[in-house]
Symmetry: none
Subunit: 217 residues, 2 copies
């Protein structure tokens, strides 16, 4: 029925009409639709008039009105809108921010999800995620600084060498590199001023794996 440009123009005129009761000029329309010449608008207007979507007084300034709206949107518009909607929904994910992990609380026990962080969807995939504010510099050599926001993917176990949130003795949560070693695990900081801790595997619960970092300067 209508081309994309025709549709856009019609909707623009209708919008201005409804919102202000006034009528845009050809130049204003040209801006709105993204043309650089009025002659294009002229053609579009003629097309819209021919198709009975608008009525106008020729040679009169700002003298046209919408008489009906199309029942169907042009395919291009539909697809455009779908894309945009998807982009919007996909582009960002809101995940809970568990500031400092309350000493000893397993992640599951932290019910408070009032604070959240928006994360670009590129940074998460399937699974559950949460965020932590990094405190201290024990991971500084891994490029994780005090104040950074760590994006963590919830997992109960993790591959060797990953940076994980580990809960020790149900009592203490920390972000460290995980090194498995038979019955024991090593929690390796990334800062030579800190010591690696070696602990029986049974005393350590993995709470998640580091999946991203957000930093704001």
């Amino acid at each position: 029925m209508l081309t994309e440009k025709q549709y856009n123009l019609l909707m623009f005129i209708n919008k201005i009409n409804k919102e202000t009761g006034r009528c845009p000029s050809f130049d204003e329309m040209k801006e709105a639709v993204g043309l650089k010449s009025k002659s294009g608008i002229h053609a579009l207007i003629n097309a819209l008039e021919e198709r009975n979507f608008i009525r106008r007084l020729k040679h009169r300034a700002r003298a046209l009105e919408v008489i009906r709206l199309p029942r169907f949107k042009p395919q291009a518009i539909v697809e455009e809108e779908k894309k945009r909607e998807q982009a919007l929904q996909n582009s960002v994910v809101s995940i809970p921010l568990y500031g400092k992990i309350a000493a000893g609380l397993p992640i599951e026990a932290i019910a408070d999800e009032t604070e959240t962080v928006s994360v670009p969807f590129e940074m998460v995939s399937l699974g559950q995620y949460y965020a932590l504010k990094i405190e201290g510099d024990s991971m500084i050599e891994a490029g994780i600084l005090d104040g950074d926001t760590a994006i963590i993917r919830k997992q109960n176990q993790a591959d060797d060498g990953k940076i994980v949130v580990a809960l020790i003795d149900n009592n203490e949560a920390t972000l460290k590199v995980l090194k498995k070693n038979g019955d024991t695990v090593k929690l390796v900081p990334c800062n030579k001023d800190y010591k690696t801790r070696t602990i029986e595997a049974s005393r350590v619960k993995i709470q998640g794996v580091l999946s991203g970092i957000l930093r704001k300067y």
Copy 2:
């Protein structure tokens, strides 16, 4: 539909009509619309009549009536819609990703905005932003790793000590700490394996200031 002046006049007539039941004279209208001559009103009245918004008895004083008003949405609804749209747009911002800076190209010259990154709106404020993929480890001690995505705020100058995108001799763009020193600037890497470069200020153009880091594991 209507021009500004036509619209204003119509609304004025309608208002007087409703409030007093009477009809304003040309002189009253002239005052209300801000004209200095009645002839202008005459023209406007003709236009409104031609467009079927008013009906009148010619040569009769104060003898015109409004037959319709341009229909428009209540302001409240318009604002509501605007807000909603803004809210949607606010949650995430899409900024262009200038992969590796093409050697020697000032940021402005990189027209390609096809690749973009979604950034949580918390990470940007006013101004223009773009993103860069970090290559190399010259800033590793600042917690900026190879592969990180740097969020840069476009600026032509920057405070001392900031991490900036600097273009040297219109030829080479790099991310370094800026140290101003009279006529020269130092571009300080954050890695002891790299040397600080001291360059005449005139040869260095600031292309932006580091405003955030995104990292994905």
